[in-house]
């Protein structure tokens, strides 16, 4: 085997691959199940964007907390939320991560530092500031990570949070997942600056843009900004330029895409393929090792889907639990 030229051990590289493959399998399975009419509600898939969530989350432990978006499955999986319980949640079952009450847009697992997917754009940013504030109070070295899309980067809640984190010097990273679209609207229609680094600068935050389909670029840059935050160096903004493989939500025909655009990104900007060929070409891992993980991921998702489908729905009494009911 060749010498490992990467900033991660072989084991960690395989971990990263497994996380990305698991997310991809998860999302592709949802795509199929949704088309079959098996899944209720709105489902936003993270397929194509796996390298970003994975590259960032590899630096985190359970005491680090993330606030996610409507497109949260990938973040959940990378943060260690149980895949079966996620699948059951999305199918609306009692065994779901949120006992079926949240669904795709509201998966959370506080014990893993996952503060929730969020149906409201930009809403996670102050929550991540709160996580950073709590960590600062406790002095436990934890960080808060806020995810936001290119479209949601125009929400006042997010923008205020950039300032708050800067003036309070919070250990918070604002990740802008720039996949080029907000629903059907192109990013360039809705944002008048070329780079989010400029926007960060407008609030006094260091910012950096990386190719979000390049796992290593994300991993290394995230490592730097997270380390700085842990050491009291304050917040940063990290823009990941990435691509979305499916529609905004399931059911979207994507007529707004240019001709050949989807084919092109799938062929040339598939972060998992890119990652796999890098580590294989460097001779650090073998195709066989990856294939094994592929099979295991497929198996895991198959099990999760079977589990979710056969699991019972929440009992009617669940309607009134988990909230103060005064009426």
């Amino acid at each position: 085997m060749a010498k490992n030229p990467f900033p991660l051990s072989k084991e960690k590289l395989l971990d990263a691959y497994r996380t990305m493959r698991t997310i991809r399998e998860f999302e592709e399975r949802l795509h199929t199940e949704f088309a079959k009419g098996e899944i209720p509600g709105f489902v936003h898939l993270y397929a194509g964007e796996e390298a970003a969530g994975t590259g960032i989350m590899m630096h985190l432990t359970d005491k680090d907390r993330i606030a996610s978006t409507h497109r949260g499955h990938g973040h959940c999986i990378a943060k260690g939320v149980d895949v079966k319980s996620m699948m059951a949640e999305i199918f609306g079952k009692a065994a779901g991560a949120c006992r079926g009450k949240g669904g795709s847009m509201h998966i959370a697992d506080l014990s893993k530092g996952m503060m929730g997917a969020n149906g409201i754009l930009g809403a996670g940013a102050p929550l991540a500031c709160g996580a950073g504030l709590a960590a600062k109070y406790r002095g436990d070295g934890g960080v808060g990570i806020s995810f936001v899309g290119d479209g949601a980067s125009n929400q006042g809640t997010f923008l205020e949070s950039l300032n708050l984190a800067a003036v309070w010097n919070l250990p918070v990273i604002f990740v802008v997942e720039n996949n080029g679209y907000a629903e059907s609207t192109h990013r360039d229609y809705a944002v008048a600056v070329d780079s989010y680094v400029d926007r960060a600068a407008g609030f006094g935050l260091p910012g950096v843009t990386v190719d979000g389909t390049d796992f290593f670029a994300v991993y290394e840059t995230a490592g730097e900004v997270i380390k700085r935050a842990r050491e009291g160096g304050g917040p940063s903004l990290l823009e990941c330029k990435m691509v979305r493989f499916y529609g905004h939500f399931e059911g979207d025909q994507q007529l707004y895409r240019g001709k050949g655009e989807l084919e092109d990104i799938r062929a040339n900007r598939d972060c998992i393929k890119l990652f796999a060929s890098r580590i294989v070409e460097a001779g650090v891992v073998t195709p066989k090792e990856l294939e094994k993980i592929d099979r295991e991921a497929a198996q895991l998702i198959e099990e999760a889907a079977a589990f979710a489908k056969s699991a019972p729905p929440p009992a009617p009494a669940e309607l009134l639990t988990d909230v103060y009911v005064s009426y």
């Binding site: 209720p40 509600g41 709105f42 949640e89 609306g92 079952k93 009692a94 779901g96 949120c98 079926g100 009450k101 949240g102 669904g103 847009m105 509201h106 969020n118 149906g119 409201i120 754009l121 930009g122 479209g151 949601a152 125009n154 929400q155 006042g156 809640t157 679209y181 907000a182 629903e183 059907s184 609207t185 192109h186 990013r187 360039d188 229609y189 809705a190 944002v191 994507q254 007529l255 707004y256 895409r257 240019g258 001709k259 655009e261 729905p313 929440p314 009617p316 669940e318 309607l319 009134l320 909230v323 103060y324 009911v325 005064s326 009426y327």
Partner: protein, 335 residues
Amino acid sequence: MARKLSMRQAINEALDQEMARDPTVFIMGEDIAGGQGGQGELDAWGGPLGVTKGLYHKHPGRVLDTPLSESAFVGAAIGAAACGMRPVAELMFLDFMGVCFDQIFNQAAKFKYMFGGKAETPVVVRAMVGAGFRAAAQHSQMLTPIFTHIPGLKVVCPSNAYDAKGLLIQSIRDNDPVIFCEHKNLYGVETEVPEESYAIPFAEANVVRDGDDATIVTYGLMVHRAMDAADALAKKGIECDVIDLRTLSPIDWDTVLDSVERTGRLVCVDEANPRCSIASDVSAKVAQDAFKSLKAGIGMVTAPHTPVPFSPALEDIYIPSAAQISEAVQRTMGK
């Protein structure tokens, strides 16, 4: 008038006709056309549920896609209204009000009063409301009571395509800010809708069924559940007035009070949560002004005091049902 339209089409037609009639009318919202800035089709979406589809090419320059900044664009609609335009802003889901409520309740709603009558703010904010879409806690709320509470706002919630067209046209012509609530589970439901333009005045409730035994007061999707309940009750010999409020603020008290004075029994049905709801509001009014006519305690059927659950198993029992309504009516009759 045999032509049938879905509520989605009726709303589209109302917008289309008002834009054609009045050059100060324009519409804006997130992906209200769609495809802006990209390489593919323009008017790719016509709003997430396709309600505004087709208007972009028909009314060039008057269908504005917005960045995802509700405070800014809803506020801009309000500002433009104060400057003589008649904008219709789409908030997509009314649940998103939380990021722009100030512009609605402290700005638009208050200008006329605060400025001593020297300002008009003829803006319409359209938004989807209601549960049943498996869209969970942040995309399924009614929230109508919150807007109804605020003086200076008018609140409209049609139950069918015909009303939707006439009420939306009235909303656009009205000189006050109007919150126009579209139940997402009614978009596909068809009724007969005349092609010509017509306006339905505010504060005129619709008695959609007559009966002398009890009065059911409701609005929006719940009108249909109430009708189902009334049908079932009729089979048991109980005949109900079913009142579709259509506008929640202003509200047609006369129709409600007249009916209760005749029937002596009232059940208020609201898809919103119970506390400080439309149901409690109507109940209180009747307990105040028509107490002498009441033969029994008022019945209320509302969603429970919980967020909207995701799981279909739970959401289906979250939403008030025809069975609950007919039980409530029967309770008022001592049954």
